[in-house]
Symmetry: D2
Subunit: 441 residues, 4 copies
């Protein structure tokens, strides 16, 4: 293959060029050092590039094969290719000047002849990463194990009817968790791509939920054992590839965690397109995670509003994104989490530049959205409207209804005695939407 430095014709890290520039290779909104709500923009957004879509996906879809013909995908020595891929990847991190990246084990290193060799391959590439991370400022937002691509996982990983797959998965997860820890990763993610089922006819639902709960406990115990301080995250998705996934949405994951006794230990990595496929808005899933105390990180992308599968497109809509950013800010912002672009260029976007430009545009959308969301928060008018709406709950007799001691009977008695006849008050949705519109610039 070609020398990796040649893959991208862009050589210098991209810079903020300002709103009036039309240069597609500069940031119009993402000004990493700009202070927003007392923090650098970069520290708010904590952007990460995902290894899989950008460097491992060849451009296929269910009706067609490879379109990209990446040089690092064609050759005989797979470890050589993996090293070449790493060169390209870190070159892109450098060009985009992003603070983080994310990876699955199978993205970065080929499967070996044995489990041990597979794990060793991952470690070998991770060692290369370690050096590259030292010499650049890019950090690891999270690592994860790919427990869904190989045919051994066709019926699940931890929820597989075959216990050997459970054990195999344990080995793979342990390896990536430890590598993530060693690389200073800030989170470890579990995406249960095939933790679900195709048909109840061949499935023992309860047993599989138990297996999954047990696996999560093993992971959390191992986290403590190795001293990993990062967050364990589950990434909800309602379906695809499986007919039903056990980690359907944020609320479902919360229930799973309660069932496994882990609701204080594990958080969620919320993906925009997974949210919409589950029948929710992206901001809903973030707000719900925050309300349940399990908000962790996000996978930023967007789905096609009329397509019923995971299109994983780069975000383009500032207004939609601002509503998500606002919920993140209301939740206090990220702690260990970040904004990972789990987004892929369209399979027709075959030029190397397409990869760069897609990220630039998406980073700008997020930066613009952050500024809008910060204004929404600073201005406080939206929050005030919410507070006003619930103000009645501050009165002592109303507060009391939410406290132990009051009973249904006592509340009912008062309602009847006072002849309550509550009059509805406008929800004012349109004027609040207009208010949101007024923050755009």
């Amino acid at each position: 293959m070609n020398a990796p430095a040649r893959f991208f014709s862009t050589l210098e890290p991209l810079r903020y060029v300002g709103r009036d520039s039309r240069d597609p290779f500069g940031f119009r909104w993402y000004d990493r050092d700009q202070i927003v709500l007392g923090k650098r923009m970069e520290d708010h957004l904590r952007f990460a590039v995902a290894y899989w879509h950008s460097f491992t996906w060849p451009g296929g879809d269910p009706f067609g094969g490879e379109t990209f013909l990446r040089p690092w995908m064609h050759g005989s020595d797979e470890m050589d290719l993996a090293r070449a891929k790493a060169d390209v990847a870190f070159d892109m991190f450098r060009i985009l000047d992003v603070p983080y990246f994310c990876f699955h084990d199978r993205d970065i290193a080929p499967e070996g002849k044995t489990l041990k060799e597979s794990n060793a391959n991952v470690r070998a590439i991770a060692d290369i990463f370690a050096k590259k991370m030292e010499s650049s400022k890019v950090k690891l937002l999270w690592g994860t194990a790919n427990l869904f691509s190989h045919r051994r996982f066709m019926s699940g990983a931890s929820t597989n009817p075959d216990p050997d797959v459970f054990a195999y998965s344990a080995s793979q997860v342990k390896n990536v968790m430890e590598i993530t820890h060693e690389l200073g990763g800030e989170n470890y993610v579990l995406w249960g791509g095939r933790e679900g089922y195709e048909t109840l006819l061949n499935t023992d639902l309860k047993r599989e939920l138990d297996q999954m709960g047990r696996f999560l406990n093993l992971v959390v115990e191992h986290k403590y054992k190795i001293g990993f301080k990062g967050t364990i995250l589950i990434e909800p998705k309602p379906q695809e590839p499986t007919k039903h996934q056990y980690d359907f949405d944020v609320s479902t994951v919360y229930g799973l965690l309660c069932r496994a006794g882990l609701e204080k230990e594990v958080k969620v990595n919320v993906e925009a397109n997974h949210a919409t496929l589950a029948g929710h808005s992206f901001e809903h899933e973030i707000a719900m995670a925050a309300a349940l105390g399990i908000f962790g990180s996000i996978d930023m992308n967007k789905g096609d509003a009329q397509s019923g599968w995971d299109t994983d497109q780069f975000p383009t809509n500032v207004e939609d994104t601002a509503l998500a950013m606002y919920e993140i800010l209301r939740a206090g912002g990220y702690t260990t989490g970040g904004t990972n672009f789990d987004a892929k260029i369209r399979r027709q976007s075959i030029d190397p530049e397409d990869l760069i430009l897609a990220h630039v545009a998406a980073m700008d959308v997020c930066a613009h959205a952050l500024l809008v969301a910060a204004d929404m928060l600073k201005d406080g008018a939206l929050q005030q409207a919410v507070d006003d709406r619930y103000a009645g709950w501050n009165e002592p007799q109303n507060k009391a209804m939410l406290q132990p001691g009051t009973t249904l009977a006592s509340i009912a008695a008062r309602a009847e005695a006072e002849n309550l006849d509550p009059q509805p008050r406008s929800g004012r949705q349109e004027r609040l939407e207009a208010l949101v519109g007024s923050y755009f610039r």
Copy 2:
């Protein structure tokens, strides 16, 4: 209005006429005394007629008004009309010879000038019910309070920003719970029609979840206080009327219950059409409820597979219904639950006979499905296939992985030491589907 006995031209209770009959006014499959798996068919199915769709809905839809012109919907004395409606309803229960019915408070009695009067109206009609129930064999499967139709509930009931609506709801629920208890109802249901939100912009999600959890606790405490032995049920629905409902699906309700500390106290009433609107099959929701230990009862109907709202049609497909019945049987059948027809005739079905025939056909579909499901269970071949698939988990070292003591590290070490290379085995979906097909008759 006309004398109620005249509303239906059918006068005699409908009877089993056998499979070869073409009489639409007889049951071809529902033979209530037939013994299935050691129990009378009637005792398996525990059919209930729903008051609302059958007697209270005038046939309107979002683009058009009343089509049915029921005599009991037009008159000046609303309590008179309510009594006439009760006559027609009990006449239909008698004709269909169903063991149960279900109602909302506002279905059976008009709203009064005050909360107290509204509650009294419900009680007055309930007194009539009590007498009618004595003289017929129909029983109450469940009662519930309508906390969504009146404009005071436009922003929710227990989750309303206005605490007075919370209190008002408490009074209404207390009244219906007590009436349900007095009428010997076997369950009390909560459907949170407007417990959800339209826009996050005016909503405090966490506060509303807290209010809802608190309300559920008040209800459960009241249940014990009054000595009600029935089951408290929540009916999940993903959306409609609200953009997002807090009781989205079975798994979400499980999480809510855990959060409120009520996962041992409250169960779910699973509706077919709500399941499919949530992106699940009906059988999935039943199986999930069973796996989580919260299966209670069902609302039997079907949605239109291509329509995105609650069409609440009568079930027509034996094969689909059999898969649901199979999961109910696998879960041990109903305890306090039953098969409530939360189904409405199409608004063009304006003849009184349409109401009767829709129920007859649906009861036949369910009875037929029960027979198929019972054969599936008795034969055991499906269960055997599932057991075989998970058989590896019976081996001691595999069982051990699910027990405390093993660690991720110990499992991983063994996987590597044994050089595990699990080979996939066919999920055999098509042959299991064919097997299901072979039980149909």
Copy 3:
């Protein structure tokens, strides 16, 4: 009821206040006299207010009744109420200073005891409109007949199995067409709310398509007979209220028109929410209509991206709206069409101000979107990218392939002789999306 002037506390027509204003009762973007691409903004956008959602809908939904309690909806003399409603409506037109409005016959006047009286009622109110239109500058964008609300239309209007309904519909349409003509209406719209079916089991599809085609021809013939110079428009919708509507989407309507020989006579009124319910983006439907030569007008609103029914919300997203506006501009802009707000405030938005503010915000969204779309067009970079992509088709041998004379065999022979091996070129979607983003301000 109250004097209409009192319904809205806003008394003066609303004015452009500029982008930096936070006054919700002023336009931040809609500056009607601003020249955009050589035309006044007002003349580009041709805003219309819809009578039905704003003045006739009481705030009900399938699970709850009236929330708005509008004074003109409660009283004993229906014609008096209709006149009061007209006063409020024209007051709102004045306050918003919109150039157009739209109506259904049943929105503006009550049904009478006979068909003749119903038609006369419409005419009586139309006479009031005529006077009000003279003294204000508001014009009629289009009129239409409501052939779906009353129970007589429950099985369709022109496609009804009962020929008397066809005849009844003819009378109603004739009346409204003539009134529309007399009021100077610029279009006449047909929305086939119940021209469709619920179940094929009771439907003769071909016959109903024939009836519909015939009715359209009658309408077009009548247009010429009365000298109406406006455009006849069909408004596509895929389903709801019916399971399947015959006017599913733009392409389906085109096929219907071809079948009826009317593809040069009738155009479409494209609604955003109907487009998305049909599985299309709004801009797709506009572009398709333009490509097929049948683009007429639009119903501006938005759906909820996760809800499966017609939510008819006011548009809030400038970026989405700009893509639609761009397609309208590319199609040459409106001729007789306009931007009709077929949008309703949420049923919780019960204050009179909500109605005003929703329109103001939506008009601003459209005005902002128009400015962006105009820049996209003026700049030309998007169009250039498209032209470049198809440039190969300008070469003579390629042009020839699209002309009579070439054959499959001759083209194939050349392809083989020249050993064609076409290399894909990037579709550059992300960089074009980024380019679109750069026009926002």
Copy 4:
């Protein structure tokens, strides 16, 4: 690879074993010589096996690779593999004893180094087919060209911005059309997998529609030139792989055909799963095609009712299938068309037997459905109900309304003069659904 005879352990053609058999390798319903409505069951159903899903798909999905490891997919000489695949395929046709098969050019033969070589490869395998077809009784239902898998087609085939792809496609189609003709194929199908677009931003919709219309005309002209007597079919699909496909559904294709002047020349191949993805029931699409005079053939499969992509599952539901079969019978049955299983076993169904059993079960579902549909037709009660519903249209004055000569004004005048007040009659949906249920056995 193994000798093909060894791939399936089943050696003898499968036979009808009757309803009471539990042998999964025998037909319980499909009794090919049984006379139904005067015709052999085989001649009604005209089953075809599809080459692609059964022999060419390796079991991958968007999140995982090959699971099947078919012996003919792994080797160095691609033409050798293609011959081995043909052996297995014809062995399966023999075992299933189906009368037809279908193929894409790329299913049966590998792409060569040049277009000419690719075409020659197809011809070489077709020659093998010709011999195998002679010695067996299997016939070709239809052939088609794969114009979507290779990256050259990533932006479409006939609608590609690059005219060379148009020419390349012409060569490929010409080759497969001629081979189809020589093999005695009864139809030629066009599936426009990538005839659509991903984003309007890079698309000239009108130009692409023109290109597509031109290509269709070239194909039809070539049909006449070579004397092919079969039917040219288009297979509608709403989206996937593209965001929007130009052949969205039956009605859209009808519009396209009208635009190209081909509505008498080209028919449709209706697929169940494509119908449901387009928001229609399968039977709707068949009935619509029949009403428009373009019904040709079907691709039999089913989608998952809760999944938003093409799952292409084998049909399992007799009741759903019977409604489709009923519409086919009402349309007069197939002429050149047939029942092609465009269905794939799940990727976890990795045993050779799974392939056989899936087809057996599906053929039984169709045979059972045919019997039910035939009874529905013979009995005539459904048709009678429809005829009764429209009976009013047989009256002279009502017939006249559909004929030239009457005008909107004359109809309106009569409606008013006669004071028409049409009373709705029950649509009787539930009783008709019950009636359908009564035909099941």
